[in-house]
Symmetry: C2
Subunit: 125 residues, 2 copies
């Protein structure tokens, strides 16, 4: 639990530096390599679909993402990161990586291996 909270503090701090919430940070992470539907985003984040509407509204207002109609199903709206959003996502990814690395700075190779093994045993990410 301590480890968990330490990581959350790191993520929250990195997000706050870019004036983002943890949810917006996770959204950008999802959009780095995908262009999911609203429903798919709700599934990823385990939120109700009605919550996604506002989330995407706010991200769109900031120019980080854009809505696009699905070519195959007129009911579906796809969401993609803009160039600005992708750039920010990339910057955040690097920052998070560095911060986690720093968190692990004092831990041995065997400790890291143990944690990786634990992570692998967890329910699907």
């Amino acid at each position: 639990m301590q480890v968990s909270f330490a990581v959350q503090v790191v993520l929250t701090r990195v997000a706050a530096q870019q004036d983002l919430s943890l949810t917006q940070l996770r959204l950008l992470g999802i959009l780095r390599d995908r262009t999911p539907s609203m429903a798919a985003i709700a599934d990823f984040l385990e939120l109700d679909r009605s919550s996604i509407t506002g989330l995407i509204d706010r991200a769109e207002r900031r120019g980080l993402v854009a809505r696009r109609p699905s070519p195959s199903d007129a009911r579906v709206t796809l969401v993609e990161a803009t160039a600005v959003g992708l750039e920010l996502a990339s910057r955040i990814g690097a920052e998070v990586g560095a911060s986690i690395e720093q968190l692990l700075a004092g831990s041995s190779a065997t400790a890291r291996a143990s944690i990786e093994k634990l992570a692998a045993s967890l329910p699907q990410p």
Copy 2:
């Protein structure tokens, strides 16, 4: 990060089962063995003092905590868990412990030792 999110999912689920937010869950955890001032709670949770007013209002409305004047300083309000709040905190503590234990079910003794060592190396909890 995977480990961190897995723990957060556990905590959020346990809190939701009792119709509590993660913040209310943390509050109850704090009050298990303390009767802090409003300001001290703000420090623990790293939130603004104005946020604590509403947090305690809602917990008080649910009968989980009670405000009490400080005997030594008339400006200070102390917060203590009620019997109901303590009972709930205890139940939640057991539930969280069991869930984390389950999360670690497949991991070896050396893996656990590594994680404990990492936790010990982290900035003060």
